[in-house]
Amino acid sequence: MTLSRREFVGAATGAGIASMAAPGLLFAQSNGPFRIGLLAAKTGPLASGGIDMELALNMFLKERNGALADRKIELIVADTAGVPATARTKCQELVEKNNIDCLIGPLAAFEALAINDYVVQKEIPTIGVAAAEDMTQRQANPWFVRVTATAAQCAYPLAEYAAKELKYKRMVTMADDFAYGHEMCAGFQRVFEDNGGKIIQKIFPPLTAPDYGSYVASIKNADAIFLGTAGSNGFRFLRQFIEYGLKDKMAVIGGMTALDESVLRNMGDEALGIVTTSFYSAELDNKANQAFAPAFRKQNKYDPGYYAASTYIAGEVLEAALKTTTGKARDKKALIGSIRGASTDTIRGVVKFDEFGNIIGNAYIRKVTRKDGRLVNSVVKTYPDVSQFWTYDKTAFLKNPVYSRDYPPAKNLEP
């Protein structure tokens, strides 16, 4: 954090004023620092993730002494508060006032959708972390790449794992009632049923459900339940699930945010043994992550999770792209071209992008274990090079409607 926000903002404002005072400087600036704008929710309910995004990106830049591919980097962080309208305003500010060359973020799908048009209109190379499926499918934005995963991308391998290796036959899904939850459950259901399993019940409590008691009590008897929640919702649901004595009756498995490190660090033994999926785990045993995860833990006293990893990977991808655009980083077309063409080794393993700008990389099946006194997501199986289309034919996939509450239709629901 010593690359302080104040320094960045100060430098950015200074540059802004200078360019206003002397338009001629603008030209000279094209050889100046490369400007990254980060849209992160640092206040409001999504703040935990946004703060981790900033911490990790700062850490990445500090490790490289503030320069990528021999270019000085200037980072300008804007707080979206997790509100789409604010995300839009802040994005505009980053582009028009701070004159950024590249955008990283935002965190949530509805924020990403709010800036989508503007990113296209202003042609801003954007490295996104939000999951909304269609942004890299039917309505792919040519200026957007995603370095995390679509909502369903990591649920596919988990569904196969649940059917083939855990041998679950009948399952219940439970997720927050918004696009992310719908898409994740739909992807899970599709692969699970294609592997011979049955989804017998789908539960979607509202995002702001005060109490999960009535939902927990209506869960039907099955082999396991799939949790497609994010943030504190999954945390509360799981506690109540245990309180009603259901954990002894059926297994729990979860999507990529259900037992994120940010949730895990406030849980106890009740989380042990729960299997989840993600594109990342702090426990990953590759060279880049062996350096990153312990350093992050040392600095912040907790393990990096989904959000911290997302911006660190964004940094790694950007660095790889800048190396191939020497001298042309200000050329937006060249930059987005080399980001999309980047194939690089990151803390989540080797990644590349498909023609829609979505990442192809490893997905990990993880199990909660205890290590040095804290709970961690140990990797139990790696699915290499998972694409957003899983094993399905791309053309046929894109002809279907986007995943939703009711698509694909659940044919095995039990009354």
């Binding site: 703040a47 979607f204 005060p210 109490d211 008691g213 009535s214 939902y215 309180e243 009603y244 949730v263």
Partner: protein, 288 residues
């Protein structure tokens, strides 16, 4: 059969929780005609304080933590009322805005102090194992919570109906001008009631903690529920808040269990119906 019994108990426990939330709001609204939009934030602050105390002090009892948090939040509420709200006595829009602003300040302060991760409030170890009810297992703590809210209801009833202070508060609710004219120190009373209302919210946050835990956004999740309960039950009526809480508890629980797609609509629908046919709420007095 199991469905009806378990969901019935769920309804009761949610109702109890809602009463702990709404009674303080109703008290303040009734006496001061003040829609205190900070109420949800007081509830959340209580939950965080309780969670922190329980984590920091070994062997601390949940009930003591609730009492302590309640007192701290009550004190904070008192300061807020004295310093800010007294200046806005005749300005209802100003009050709404300033209490809303205060809730943002508390929410952001909580975020700075406690970070964005959800923090659990542990269930007391003696209440962790489920209780058998007609042969079905039900979380014991939820049943105790219902008992708690009934105890709070009785306590408030005795305070309002059987004490001199209660009589003064009732006089203030019925006719503020007249109360002032007969020498009731309305201003002091206002502060006391505001402290009490905030304190109940703070303690309620801790008692609801084992079910809800403390997390950013808890304030915004709970405030609409307090509003629904109070508007349904009737402004300034303790009985209204009590009955209203359990009605909403039942409607929400059975609504979500039977028609999960309409969970939020089902919550607001009864309130809209009541307002349409009985604008003062189920137990509110006309012209009060």
């Amino acid at each position: 059969m199991q469905f009806w019994i378990i969901q019935g108990l769920n309804s009761l426990s949610l109702g109890g929780l809602l009463f702990l939330l709404a009674s303080g709001f109703s008290l303040i609204f009734g006496l001061m005609r003040l829609a205190n939009l900070t109420h949800g934030a007081f509830f959340m602050l209580g939950a965080y304080l309780g969670a922190t105390a329980l984590r920091a002090i070994d062997g601390l009892n949940l009930w003591v933590a609730a009492l302590g948090s309640g007192l701290v939040v009550a004190a904070l509420g008192g300061v807020f009322e004295r310093l800010v709200l007294t200046r806005l006595k005749t300005n209802p829009l100003g009050q709404v805005l300033v209490t809303l602003g205060m809730s943002f300040i508390i929410a952001d302060a909580c975020l700075v102090l406690w970070g964005g991760d959800p923090i659990p409030v542990p269930t007391p170890s003696a209440l962790q194992s489920p209780t058998g009810v007609f042969g079905y297992a039900f979380p014991t703590y939820r049943l105790v919570l219902v008992g708690c809210s009934i105890a709070v209801a009785i306590g408030l009833y005795l305070l309002l109906e059987r004490t001199r202070v209660g009589a003064m508060i009732r006089a203030g609710v019925d006719d503020r001008q007249m109360a002032r004219a007969v020498g009731i120190p309305v201003s002091t009373l206002f502060t006391a009631v505001f402290c009490l209302g905030a304190g109940i919210a703070g303690a309620g946050g801790v008692l609801g903690g084992p079910i809800l835990s403390a997390y950013p956004g808890l304030d915004a999740d709970m405030l609409p529920l307090a509003l629904i309960v109070v508007i349904l039950g009737g402004v300034g009526s303790l009985l209204g808040a009590f009955i209203g809480s359990f009605i909403i508890g039942f409607i929400y629980t059975f609504g979500t269990a039977l028609l999960p797609e309409f969970a939020y609509i089902i919550l607001f629908l009864p309130m809209i119906l009541v307002i349409a046919f009985r604008p003062q709420g189920l137990f509110g007095r006309v012209g009060a």
